[in-house]
Amino acid sequence: MKNKEVVSDTSTTPDEDQTELIEQRPVDSQSESTLELLRAIILGEDRQQIADMETELEQLEQRVTDPDKLIAIITPVMSQAIRRTIRDSREAMIEALYPIVGTLVMRAVAEAIRDLARTVDAQMRTSFDFSTLWRRFQARLGGVKASELTLRDALPFHVSELFLIHREKGLLLLHLSSSPDMTPDSDLISSMLTAIRDFVQDSFGQGKTGQLNEIQYGEQSILLETASHVYLAAVVDGVTPTGFRTAMRERVIEISHAYEDTLRNYDGEVKALQNTAPSLQSLIENHYSKQHSNQVQKRVLVGVMGLLICGILGCVLGGWGWQRLASPPTPVVVVVTATSTATPSPTPQPTATPTFTPSLTPTPTSTATPTATPTMSPTATPIMVVAGTMVGSAWVHVAPGDDTERLTVALERDLSVEVLGAFQDWYRVRWSPQSGAEVVGWVPARWVETVDPIPPELVTPDPN
């Protein structure tokens, strides 16, 4: 069609050659269309392919220039490539990634632990209940920080399954689970556990009395505690708290003893040990460790209170007993018979002071007998005394001073005494409980109230 139009256009030119050409045109146009037909036959397929390729190229350009489409294309390929590289060159991948991932992980873990430690520490510092104090005490005993101990206690622990199994037969006696919906085949597990125990015992325990105590797989463990006829298997996650194994052992021994006859001749009855369920249930509860520590705390609290009460009672009774021994109702006195041939001395010298030797120790009777005689050297001067009253009970000393020997005689409050001398804060006093008997010695001045002031003559510069 197009060629024909060209022909009609050129046909208007007046040139002769062109005229000739026009004359020849019908023939050429025919051959042209034939050629075109030939081209279509020969090149049609190539043309179609080129057109398709152009379309594809356009689409490809669109994908490459559009980031979302590009990601969608590359991601699966990249994933596949990375997976294959990790599989084939694991070490190389680790080495390549470690500088980045290792540092990243370490930083993240360190930060998380620091946060946790800070939280725990803050909690420890701000709370003052008994459990905290107890934890601090435990930590001090163990040589760790209280926060570390708290952290340790905070580690997860969970008992998921509990199997009570006949030791010889391997038959299941009782099974408890924290999630009854996901109960495993407890019968088979019991038997296989027993087979494994036997296998280990036969293989490695020849001639030894030991038992298989634990089987570990991944994050879970099977803890085993054995008694004479039964053993207990606990499937646990996490870190086993202190005391859990002891509790397991206690339970299994209790059961073994309580059901000894049944277990010794066990006939396989399924419900024979159903009553042991409550005893074992406490082990499977999630908050076991907390409960257990609370129980320990309670026990310790009771113990401390008991000790305190005992201490107080002991002090009271001890003091009373001592009082009874040291100062009986009628004060034990050293009675010095008035053999006073002593002549008063105007200035009583320390040498004039009666000295009581340890043999003066009185017997706890009111009729104490004198065993010593004063060594005072008599003088002709009359003795000057000042009347006084005890305002508090006080021990009588042989010389002034708290560190001097005591006479085991106490002068009780309100007793009337005579002050014979004074040295610093001490008075030398005389007490006459009865006619013909007296106690002479030194007491702290603060316990003696005198009617009159102490005259200077009674004040001695040297008690000796």
Partner: protein, 170 residues
Amino acid sequence: MTSFRKKICLLGDYSVGKTSLIRRFVHNRFDDKYISTIGVNVSRKTVSVSPAGNVVEVTMMIWDMAGGEEFSQMQGSYLRGADGAILVCDLTRAHTLEQLETHAHNFLRINPASKLVIVANKKDLVNQVLLTGDQLDTLAVAFDTRYFRTSAKTGDEVESAFRFLAQLLV
């Protein structure tokens, strides 16, 4: 209904068909690889029997022992506490019956009060059978029990043998 669990052991020479019998009788079991690992595999089957008119449920914990020499030392531990045993021989191999006597004595030494049943397996191999009924009967009488000619391949008499033992145990 009263329920019991009983420990049963399968004893017999290598390749007499112990595991095949269990496969036929039991559907739920651990993988057989345990036998090659620790010398024993445990399966379970619960059957109901009525020994004296009362229906009793018996869960049989069946311990399949490895027949090879390498686990012979282990067997003592595995046999301990068993309530009964199925002694398996191969009808096409005469010496497997001779060995049953040894197995039975070993078993009864450890568990004197337990019950036994004799199973002569592979009865489907009709043309190759070497053991006679008299031979089996003699052994059964010796151990005060009865024998079953079974085929683990066809299942013939397999269940009967296990049920008979369950009946003996309650």
